[in-house]
Each structure stands twice: as structure tokens, then as C-alpha cells.
């Protein structure tokens, strides 16, 4: 049960990553590698500030702003300097590795004794349930800390998802969606495409840095290597989400990204419980994404196949 709650909590934290990738990859059609650098950037900023005793909400907000800055740099490199999107992301990601090291001062910053948002959740739980340390949920033991951390992240993600949904239905948000789809059209309608791109990438990386800061506070440390392969995780969540709910409407895409992130962590947790070697984790990730990509097509074709079989048998007679 702890494993389940842990996997779901992690899935929810990383759904900020999925939402960020949804914005850059699906809405802006921009393959943004900055992710691998902006996630640890968020973690680094939050960890260093928390170690100095800064209030957790402020530290997390600062991490978000760090992501905004990183994303804008990628955006400017692409729009002003006409650098290919993929390359711009790689440049910033590479630079951020050193930046993160400099921020942290070393490669790993522990957060065991500092006050973090996780502590806030724990205190809320203590205040509401009055000092009980374990809950009994349907016969399973769940610590109050775990339960309240889960609930608070769930609330945070729901609020964020709602804000995103509302934002992309405003004039500015609709223009941003159109920028990714048909920039020729939107230019002819008076939208400054360059500004849209920079804004979108900034926002996307802000969310990803937020994911990094929450992750650091959840797992109790920030590590300079924690960003490696995060773009893949983000893409996997988005793609699994699309396999689940389709990519028809904006609301579905947002919900799908969150669900995809949670489902993915759940599958990984299950695989690990069944004795999967952690070394094989990346291989399993690739396998899951592959299945998520082909499953929708395969299933729809499977639905039509029995009819075809009968026809050919009838023709053969």
C-alpha cells in the first residue's frame, strides 16, 4: 500500500513534467530537450533555498521562476538567433548542467532536516487527525504523512490542470495553440509568433522546474543527475495518456497527461515488485511507450479483423 501511494504520489508530482511536455511538444510542436536541465534546475534552486531556511512556498515559487528563465532562453535562441529547436534545447540543457552544479555547490544536496512542503502536508495531517501516525484504509496501513502528501499533490495538480484548461480557452491561450498548429495563419491574424513561442517555452519549463522542486522535497534530496532522461519520461506520460483518452480536446489532453504519468509510475512500481532489475528500467520504459503508441491502432484493427476472416472463408468456398 505504501508502494502504491508512493507510486501515485510520484506520478502526480511528475505530472507537472508531463503537462510541461504537453505544452511544448503537443501544443507548440517543439521538441524541447531543455527539460533534462530545467527539472534539476528547479530541484537545485529549491534545495539550496530550503537549506538556507527559506520558507518552502517561496522556495518552490523561485524554482518555478528559474524554469521560466531557462525556457525563455531556449525560446530566444530559437526565435531571435534562428537556431534549430532541438539544438537550442540541447544548448540550454548542457549549460544548465554546470549552472545547477554551481547553484548546489556540489552534486547532491540532502533535504532531510529542512522544512519542506512535505512537512507542511504532514503537519496538516497531524492537525486534522490529531496526532495519529497511521491510518487504516480498507484494512491497509497507510502513514498519515504519505496520505496527506498524496492528497495535497492531488489538489495541487487538479488546480494546475484547471488553470491550464481555462488559460488555453482565453484569447491569448487560443492564439498560442494556433501558433503551434499554423504559424502562417496566425501571423496573418496579427499574432507575434516569436513572442508566443518564448512565452510558451518559458511556461512549459516553469512547470517542469516546479516538478523538479516538488520531487526534491518529496524524495529528500536534489541531485545534479536527476534530470537525465526526464524528457523521455515526460513524453512517455503524454503518449500513454493519449492512448488512454485520445487527443481530441484540450481538457482530455490535460487529464490524459496526468493519468499517463500516474499510470506509468504504477506500471514501473508493479514491474519492480515483480523483480524487475532496476538496470532494465529504461528498456521497460521504451517498451511501455512503444506499446502505448501502437496499441490504439492495433486494437481498432483487431475489431475489424473477424469480419475480414469470414469474408475470405466465404470466398474460398
Amino acid at each position: 500500500m505504501t508502494l502504491l501511494i508512493g507510486a501515485l504520489s510520484l506520478g502526480l508530482i511528475l505530472s507537472f513534467l508531463a503537462l510541461g511536455v504537453l505544452i511544448s511538444f503537443r501544443i507548440f510542436r517543439f521538441p524541447d530537450i531543455t527539460v533534462d536541465g530545467s527539472l534539476p534546475l528547479g530541484a537545485a534552486i529549491a534545495a539550496v533555498l530550503l537549506a538556507r531556511g527559506v520558507e518552502p512556498t517561496l522556495a518552490t515559487a523561485a524554482a518555478f521562476c528559474g524554469g521560466l528563465l531557462a525556457g525563455s532562453i531556449t525560446g530566444v535562441l530559437h526565435t531571435k538567433f534562428k537556431i534549430h529547436g532541438l539544438l537550442a534545447g540541447i544548448l540550454v540543457m548542457t549549460a544548465l548542467y554546470s549552472v545547477n552544479l554551481n547553484i548546489m555547490g556540489r552534486s547532491n544536496v540532502p533535504l532531510t532536516s529542512e522544512v519542506t512542503l512535505a512537512n507542511y502536508a504532514e503537519r496538516a495531517g497531524a492537525a486534522i487527525l490529531g496526532g495519529v501516525s497511521d491510518l487504516n484504509l480498507l484494512g491497509w496501513e497507510v502513514s498519515v504523512r504519505d496520505a496527506f502528501v498524496f492528497v495535497s499533490i492531488l489538489v495541487a495538480v487538479s488546480v494546475a490542470g484547471l488553470i491550464l484548461y481555462l488559460f488555453f480557452r482565453t484569447n491569448l491561450g487560443t492564439a498560442m495553440r494556433a501558433t503551434g498548429e499554423n504559424d502562417q495563419m496566425i501571423r496573418a491574424l496579427g499574432v507575434n509568433v516569436e513572442h508566443m513561442m518564448v512565452f510558451g517555452l518559458a511556461f512549459s519549463n516553469g512547470l517542469i522546474a516546479l516538478a523538479g522542486s516538488l520531487l526534491a522535497q518529496y524524495q529528500g534530496f536534489a541531485d545534479v543527475q536527476m534530470g537525465i532522461g526526464m524528457i523521455v519520461l515526460g513524453l512517455a506520460s503524454v503518449i500513454i495518456g493519449e492512448a488512454l483518452v485520445g487527443s481530441g480536446s484540450l481538457g482530455l489532453s490535460i487529464a490524459g497527461a496526468v493519468m499517463g504519468s500516474m499510470l506509468f509510475r504504477l506500471l514501473v512500481a508493479i514491474a519492480l515488485t515483480w523483480g524487475l532489475d532496476p538496470n532494465d528500467l529504461k528498456l521497460i520504459t521504451a517498451l511501455f511507450v512503444f506499446l502505448a503508441l501502437v496499441a490504439p491502432n492495433f486494437l481498432s484493427r483487431l475489431g475489424k479483423r473477424p469480419a475480414l476472416g469470414e469474408e475470405s472463408r466465404a470466398a474460398a468456398r
Binding site: 487560443t174 492564439a175 501571423r187 496579427g190 507575434n192
Partner: protein, 270 residues
């Protein structure tokens, strides 16, 4: 309303692909005038429209719209005053977004886009009414994605979108060229209705001699980046498809004579 002075543009200068698209184009269009632009392939018709819209900046010359100098303004800045319909039905719409959302974008052409709700009830109501008048049955399908419509329907909607906010200048770049004859006809009739009703200043490029002869109050023929014929008033009204074709032939023959003569002279004397 529109004035271009000595517009020149060369693509890929100093290379083997060098193309002198515009070679000193002088054009003055009065307000409310509907100018049809025809020309041989590569004559600079589309380049003229693109230069005016700001898709690229010209090498030399000036562009004035309603007294305002647009020559160095970016495309999205000019979009405030200019409505465009492209040849490709896919270029003027966002396929994955709904018809209503596409119009919400068009309705704010040239305006600041903030956090206001894109699909307000006022807009949806006005949209339903306007689309109903098209008689295409689309007024109940405004939530459908625009990608599900046929080319003709998309061009009709793009035309509505380009004129939703009244433009000072409407640029139509062979907007029926990619459509089947029936759809093309419907779009032309819609074009006539909108342009004549709102008295829009219009520049329309077309390949169709039929359209050139029957539409607009002025005809401009381009060749090699220059305007070579400019028919107005009675002369334009008198022009028939045969007359226009004859002028085209004349240009081609003159062209061939010039080139072969020059070649001969070069070989003989240089």
C-alpha cells in the same frame, strides 16, 4: 488607399537561383477599388501580394496603406489592416481547432489578446448568424474541427474570417485555384457578395481569365516583375476573355523575339 512605389525584390541574389520577382512595381489603388491581377508564371503576382502583406521585406521601394508607411513593418503588425486568403485551403485555418475557435482568432485580428474568454456568447451568436447565411449547413457544426470540412467550405470560412474585422485591404491570392469548379464558383460568388457589399479595397490574383474578365473594376497584367497593362473603367468592362488571352500571346511572342534576337546578336558580335 494603397500605393506602392518602385517595389523591387530579388530572391537568392548573386546565386544561380537568382529571381527578380519584383522589378520596380508602381501601383496606386483607390479606396473601394477591386483590382484583378493576372500575369504569366513567375511574373511576380504572388510576390506583389506577399510584399504588401509583409511576408518578406522589399529590397527597394515603399508601400503606403491609407497614408501609413508599411515598408519596414513586420507581417503581424501589418495584419491589423490587411485580410488575406491564401491559395492553399489549409493555410488559412487551424485544422485541429474548431470552426468557432478559428473565428475567435480572426475576430481579434490586430487587437491585443489577453485573458478574455475566447468563445463568448456574443461571438458565437454573431458567428452562427453569419455562417447560416452561407447556406452550407455549417451553423450547427461550429464545434467541429475545421479539418473535417472540404476545401471549398474552408476557403469560404477563411474568406469570412479575413473580413470579419473590416480590413483596409483584402488580398486574395488565387484563392479558388485549388478548388473544384463548383466550389470555386461558390467561393467567387461569396467573394463578390462580401467585397461589393462592404466596398472593400481588394487585390485579387487569379489564373482564371474568366474571373479576370468578369470581376473587379480594374485589371493589372504583370510580366517579369513589372506591370505591363493596366485596364480601368470602360476599357476593363469591355475586356473579354479572348482579349486578355490575345494580350498574353502578344507578351509571349514579344518575349521570344527579344530573347532569340539577343542571343543571335550576342553570338554574332560578342
Amino acid at each position: 488607399m494603397l500605393e506602392t512605389r518602385s517595389l523591387s525584390k530579388t530572391f537568392n541574389p548573386q546565386t544561380t537561383n537568382e529571381v527578380r520577382a519584383l522589378n520596380g512595381v508602381e501601383l496606386a489603388v483607390e479606396e473601394g477599388s477591386w483590382v484583378v491581377v493576372v500575369g504569366t508564371n513567375g511574373s511576380g503576382k504572388s510576390s506583389l501580394l506577399n510584399a504588401i502583406a509583409g511576408t518578406f521585406l522589399v529590397d527597394a521601394g515603399e508601400i503606403f496603406l491609407d497614408g501609413q508607411d508599411l515598408t519596414s513593418k513586420a507581417e503581424h503588425e501589418r495584419a491589423r489592416f490587411i485580410g488575406r486568403v491564401f491559395q492553399n485551403p489549409f493555410s488559412g485555418t487551424a485544422a485541429d481547432m474548431s470552426i468557432a475557435e478559428n473565428f475567435s482568432l480572426a475576430a481579434r485580428r490586430g487587437m491585443r489578446r489577453g485573458l478574455g474568454w475566447a468563445l463568448g456568447s456574443e461571438l458565437k451568436q454573431a458567428l452562427r448568424e453569419r455562417v447560416r447565411r452561407l447556406n452550407l449547413g455549417l451553423e450547427d457544426r461550429l464545434g467541429n474541427s475545421i479539418g473535417s470540412l472540404s476545401g471549398g467550405q474552408r476557403q469560404a470560412l477563411t474568406l469570412l474570417m479575413a473580413t470579419w474585422v473590416r480590413p483596409k485591404l483584402l488580398l486574395l491570392d488565387e484563392h479558388t485555384a485549388a478548388l473544384d469548379p463548383k466550389s470555386a464558383d461558390q467561393v467567387i460568388r461569396l467573394t463578390e457578395e462580401i467585397v461589393l457589399q462592404d466596398k472593400l479595397t481588394t487585390l485579387m490574383v487569379t489564373h482564371s481569365m474568366q474571373q479576370a474578365a468578369s470581376l473587379g473594376d480594374r485589371l493589372v497584367m504583370m510580366h517579369r516583375g513589372r506591370i505591363i497593362h493596366d485596364l480601368r473603367g470602360a476599357e476593363k468592362r469591355r475586356a473579354r476573355v479572348n482579349d486578355l488571352l490575345a494580350r498574353f500571346e502578344e507578351v509571349r511572342c514579344r518575349e521570344q523575339l527579344d530573347e532569340t534576337a539577343a542571343e543571335m546578336l550576342r553570338r554574332a558580335y560578342v
